[in-house]
Amino acid sequence: MTHYIRLDVVSMVRSGYYLVFSVLFSAGFYVMFTKLFTGSGWTSAPGFAVTYMISLAVSGAFYAALTGGGIRLGEERGSGWARQLTLTPLSPRRYVLGKLLSAWLLTLPALAAIFILGALLNQVRMPAGHWALVLAATWGGSVCFAVFGVAIGLLVAGEATQFACLGVFFPMAILGGLWFPTSAFPETVRQIGEYLPTSALYRLGVTAEQGSGPVATPLLVLACWTALALLAALARLRPEALRPSG
């Protein structure tokens, strides 16, 4: 299975789509709002370069996981490649597990790219231990996104997978406050947003950066979403799930 995961990750990195939408997209956002539009308003708040670094890293990781787990799996199911590959000793279950692991691995470059930009461009500084903790927290929590991706890839097949992933990504990123502050939203929407995995992982990252803060609630929220997505994925993981028409 390691051979398969390795080639899967390599081929994803080669595809322009992954780099553009999972890495460059959030990098561009980060540069734009911390370097170009910094005059006033929410982008001029103290410590913004650090918090926005964490939120856009989480955003990039989320889309990376949806691309690697969801779009890839949906496409490969739709084209019949998943069926061909699982007619070898690689079983359908291990094929899907491999997709989960490659999706999780693919969140790393997306996270690292934004952290490096923060350190180089905006002089974000923190003790080495905190950097390690931020990376560990955001990457560890990204497992939730990888499970999400795989669940979508098993529920939807073919070209529709991309739309399904975008349909999950945009609301969750925006309502979770990853791109803009949620203060402008109605109170109820804002409160719901706090129970999204995007918002939970962002708060976990900020806690790691500061060395203290809320941990229990974000972890619980992430665990619940992960369990939910896992159940959806397992319910769809039948032997015939990898047929092109399945």
């Binding site: 398969y4 080639l7 739709g78 019949g80 069926r83 061909q84 007619l87 070898t88 000793p89």
Partner: protein
């Protein structure tokens, strides 16, 4: 045929897509070393049967066994290779990477170079899969099917996108595998392919096995042959009286051109040459089409 040597064992299998029946009670066994053609028109159930044998479709009723176990277990043990229709390939990888990936699943990553050679892909090894032509993609799919040197190889319409030369090389490789005791099951609607390369033909029609036997025996049951020739001195009523003659038709555009369908070509031909006094020219002999075969078999079995 003892159960021990049986690699495929199918009993009373039925399958339907929703309300549309695709297999209506199929029973067959395939033994080691056989080269079996599943012959039938489009929609006869060839692909469905192949998918059932591979465990990709679960039959509604009946049993399917490969090597004495469930198809999934035989696949997991690396005993099976398959080349199916509508198979996409992984993107953003080279031919060598893709074939190497599949070979690695069988523990044969080190043999990737040999596999590429066998499939005629040595020159294309470094090419991206997305830049291949239709025929080249078909060769890649063949390479994936043989990457594990499986004991049982399923091929669904394998030569569909291949040109004549590639087709020839493909069958040479298949026959070489069969010579090493590998079992080959291929689905086709080309009667010529079934006749030339299989040693056993299973004819499917409307989800049922309508004939199953050695290739020679199946083909000889359809003995009708069409003779086309030029003979300026022949008369229709004389031709119709030739031994074995079933139907005679004159060519409406040429008065001296004839088309004669016979059930015994040897008797008809010998009488034709004897009677005409050397007037026969430009003789063409053609076998019946797959449709003719199916009609003849249907007549025999009483299923019209």
């Amino acid at each position: 045929m003892t159960p021990e040597t049986r690699q495929v064992d199918i009993r009373d299998v039925t399958f339907s897509y929703g309300a549309v029946p695709a297999l209506a009670g199929v029973t067959l066994g395939i033994s080691a070393g056989e080269v079996v053609a599943l012959l039938g028109p489009n929609g006869a159930g060839k692909s469905t049967l192949t998918h059932v044998m591979l465990g990709l479709l679960t039959p509604r009723t009946g049993q399917v066994g490969l090597f004495g176990t469930r198809p999934q277990d035989a696949v997991a043990r690396g005993l099976v290779g398959a080349m199916l229709q509508d198979t996409g390939l992984m993107r953003h990888v080279t031919v060598r990477e893709l074939v190497g990936l599949v070979a690695a699943q069988y523990g044969r990553a080190g043999l990737t170079g040999e596999i590429l050679d066998e499939a005629g892909l040595a020159d294309l090894a470094a090419r991206r899969v997305s830049r291949l032509s239709g025929g080249q993609r078909q060769r890649v799919k063949f390479a994936l099917a043989i990457a594990g040197d499986p004991r049982l190889l399923f091929l669904d319409e394998p030569t569909a996108a291949l040109d004549v030369e590639a087709r020839h090389a493909f069958w040479q490789d298949i026959l070489e595998r069969a010579g090493r005791g590998r079992t080959i099951v291929f689905a086709t609607h080309y009667m010529e392919e079934a006749e030339a390369y299989a040693n056993r033909i299973i004819v499917l029609q409307a989800g049922q096995v309508v004939a199953d036997g050695p290739a020679r025996q199946i083909m000889s049951r359809v003995s009708d042959v069409t003779l086309r020739f030029t003979d300026p001195r022949a008369r229709e009523e004389d031709l119709a009286r030739l031994p074995g003659a079933l139907r005679v038709r004159g060519d409406p555009t040429r008065a001296d051109r004839w088309e004669l369908v016979t059930s015994d070509q040897d008797a008809t031909l010998s009488a034709l040459y004897g009677a005409s006094g050397g007037g026969v020219r430009d003789l063409e002999i053609s076998r019946g089409s797959l449709e003719d075969v199916l009609m003849a078999l249907a007549k025999e079995t009483g299923r019209a």
